[in-house]
Symmetry: C3
């Protein structure tokens, strides 16, 4: 994953353009990605697909000719969606077009202006404070093409049912590692793993530009969205903090319950936060008309670290170890999505005779309660077709996997009938 | 308010009689009060309006002629509803008719005997303990008139709907300041303010003798009572303690939720207590047949302070500052009663494009979440026609007023539709 | 009770056989017990009544002829349901048939093998460790009779309704005092007391072999079981610990609420634990097909004390004082089962005039709230036909008995109507 992040770093991503396409193309080396191109001007829900933006070169030269900002050196130097300009501008007139962070003077900020036509340059405050008076040369050689398109990638792994789990990550942030290379590479690796698993659910993984990308997908897939039974928005999965799970708008959806369970056994510090309508693409998936059971998994959350949306969020800010830990949690999530099923006890009157079926100790009287027997008893007690493995795990305090083994043995013995997934 | 309290102090209030009438008359100088006279003997629910009680003079003279208790000096000296008597009584026979407070020896207690015919005098224990043996002269020149009536006052401010907010305060306690002059003057001032406001709800303010007055009003207004959507019993609003709100019997009525919100932002120590069927007129309004959404606001609660129901509850016990603070809270309560509305998001699929409507920042990427934008997002996310502004304030942690501004802007932009008050 | 425990101690109980019969016969001296005999081989739910097991003699002799284990000395020496054998066995071949407790070397463990045919001896680890090598003589002169039967006892005290309270205790453990003589003697004493009380409910007390006995009763009484409105499994009621109540599977059944109330006022340390499907016969009564409102009362719970299921659980381990305390709690439970009723306020509009009915203080104004008046007010406020005395006690914080007195006085005054038991 870390290698892929290194490969993807330099594609100059934005919400449209060649950078996204290059990114999707690299992902295609690992996943059977279908890339969609949606023409600029297409109405999508309450929005319109913007013109495609591409940059040839962009720089800002001081009176002595030094390039104090240069897109080719670091795409962050140029505000996203800057309009073309070639001009000589006095420093004081330049001021409203310059962005820096006085509280973090060594970092270059990340700024965009997708829907208001303007241009701008981002610099470290260190550099900005030393800019001499005089006339600067401004060059933004960029195109905003109304005949262009918005690109997004989609992978679909069919399962034994049409209902789906949706995984979504954004692909529009240039350079930065935690936000958002980490999400891209973890989603890619997760897809590679899912691909090799037997599947109850179908899985759909989306690589979309933030906001406009998820809106575009939702606009084009209203019907498919109705089949989504669980899902996650992934991003910020590479930094050194523990996990933060943000609940879906529903607040007690199956996704939420599975995530809380998995994180409780993850062995890392974790934090569960309630839904709020600010953040990443969960804003769109959880908008009240769709109200999908989709939460968000990150480590640090947006805006919580000094490096957020700056040049400080570089490859050193994320680690292979954290990426691996994130993937590991997600594999476990998928495992529970697949196996959290509901059962019905076929012998509900009295305890069935487990000993006769070889499922119970032969000598009575001893104190120790073997957890495998407890698992049988709990599953028999709670399997009313409504409570799932996860519910029984929560109520009994027994391990999910122990209950899963118990339930499979009980199905084998004809004492439980599987009546479907926990998600209906 | 404090001046009005001073004016009202000396009217010798009881549950009937000239003292109540004089009190209502003074209130009429400030509010368009309608005074009702209900004849003695009228059946009201399970009760009967009692004979009207008026006192000409009443005193108790020691063997040496000193008047150790005198109604004209302080109405508390005479037990309320004392029957007429003119007699010479030996001290030991007098004892069952004397009331004092050994644990608070300087204070004269307040006692009544509305429904059992007897007479009595109330003295400070200091005085009582020094009474010499011998024969005392007892004079109660009072009338209990079966042809009299019970008086209560009612103000009605029509709003744009017939449904009402009810404010009720009792007007039967003689002399005492916190219980109950404070309630009378705050209700009067609140009425004066409501009168000048545009109103969604109609408002009804009742000035009634305790228990029998509210019972009488309920008996005569069964139909009107069905239109009550919120309400408060007011009393004890002048002492130096923080607020106590006692919930309605329903326990989670809109009144209860509004009061809890307002008190949480009041900047004074506050206490929320559950409903209990003992107290003031909320006993009647919340009786199970009516079960109105009416709570009670006080500062100290009945029986919690040494001066309660004694001569110690005088004008020094209450302060203009506390009265003003109480009025201020009640104005805020009315403001929320008026504005706590429910909305429906007209663009529930995905986020509507707020930037296009001038409702969102133009430059993206910065960390700070402007609270006005958060207000838009929360209102759009939660406006399902069911959750009101107050619900969104509670869930989001945003200020009520910020959400109110946000919702008005969103209605203006056509993104929300107002579907009615939080109270239905 | 302690005397009865002493009497019952030596009957060699198991799940069938003469020991159980002798035990039931002793109980018959105190209660009108009906003893049922169910033939071996009878199918009961998912089980089959086992052959009847009886022992003539059983011992294990060391090479020098010393009897190191002897059933006639202590029935615990022989594993329950041991098959007949007469043989000479080398110590090393004997090992799999010997049971001891290395962590509690002085105690003889209790072991059974009801459903797998084998034999075994139980010894203190002290003795076992000193067994010399050599050939041992093994004698189990026992019968497993397919033409035998399973015995259980049943007492039925009819009440004014057919619906029942079920009390169940097991009668299959040999020798041991807390588990299970204490349950037997407390249930017997409770039955003797119930017999003398006027009864709303019918009461059924079962003395059954563990597991197979309750399964047998349920199999033969499916219809009767549907009329059970409350119940308890009793055992472990004689040791020096406080009470443990284990909730029914439903978790908030009337039994659960009554037990939590009674234990909260019992003046002993108490512990309430959630249902789990492991334990005593509540496993059967609360199996999901029956799901009866039956909890379990013990002091220490199974497996929580070192003496559990060993020779250490002898008559010194239980005390007359603890048995009496347990009985006292159970009498109170029955009292609340009998009296926890629901009422309807016949005068719900406003407070009824209690003073006129002699139910309220005559002189008003004093601070003290007499609890009897509070009782009237609370009952009138909450009596909607749904909330019972216990509910009102919980909400008001008033004593159950005070509310019971208040409700009887209000019924007398025509202000409340009794509409039935809390359990429906």
């Amino acid at each position: 994953m870390y290698d892929l992040a290194r490969t993807l770093r330099d594609a100059p991503r934005s919400i449209t353009g060649t950078g996204v396409r290059a990114t999707l193309s690299s992902i295609s080396d690992h996943l059977p990605l279908r890339v969609h191109e949606v023409p600029s001007g297409t109405p999508v829900l309450d929005w319109t697909v913007p013109p495609e933006w591409n940059v040839k070169e962009a720089w800002l030269a001081a009176p002595d000719g030094t390039r104090v900002a240069d897109w080719s050196r670091n795409p962050l130097h140029l505000m996203g969606y800057s309009t073309p300009i070639r001009a000589r501008v006095d420093l004081k007139d330049l001021a409203p077009h310059l962005y820096s962070l006085p509280d973090r003077p060594t970092l270059i900020p990340y700024r965009t202006s997708y829907y208001v036509r303007t241009w701008g340059f981002c610099l470290s405050d260190e550099v900005r404070r030393t800019l001499p008076d005089g006339e600067y040369e401004v060059c933004v050689d960029a195109t905003l093409d109304d005949a262009g398109s918005l690109s997004y990638g989609e992978v679909f792994f069919p399962g034994s049912v049409d209902e789906q789990v949706l995984i979504s990550t954004h692909v529009c942030h240039p350079v930065m590692a935690n936000d958002n290379l980490s999400g891209i590479v973890v989603a890619t690796a997760l897809g590679g793993w899912i691909c090799q698993q037997p599947r109850h659910w179908s899985y759909r993984i989306l690589f979309v530009p933030g906001t406009i990308g998820s809106i575009t997908w939702l606009a084009r897939n209203r019907q498919a969205s109705a089949g989504i039974r669980a899902g996650l928005v992934l991003t910020g999965l590479g930094d050194r903090a523990g996990f933060t799970y943000k609940r879906s708008r529903r607040g007690a959806s199956w996704t939420d319950r599975v995530m809380e369970h998995v994180l409780s056994e993850a062995g890392e510090e974790t934090r569960i936060v309630d839904f709020s309508p600010y953040g990443y693409d969960e804003r769109q998936y959880c908008s009240p008309g769709f109200d999908l059971p989709i939460g968000r998994l990150t480590r640090s959350s947006h805006g919580e670290y000094a490096e957020y949306h700056t040049s400080g969020d570089d490859l050193d800010f994320i680690t292979p170890y954290q990426l691996e830990g994130s993937l590991s949690v997600l594999r476990r999530v998928v495992e529970i999505f697949e196996t959290d099923r509901r059962y019905v006890n076929t012998h509900p009157f009295g305890e069935p005779n487990l000993g006769r079926r070889g499922l119970y100790r032969q000598v009575g009287g001893a104190v120790d309660q073997r957890s495998v027997e407890l698992g049988y008893l709990w599953m028999l007690s709670q399997s009313d077709g409504d409570h799932s493995l996860l519910d029984v795990a929560r109520r009994s305090g027994l391990a999910y996997d122990a209950l899963r083994s118990a339930s499979l043995a009980l199905v084998e013995a004809g004492l439980l009938t599987d009546v479907g997934s926990a998600a209906r």
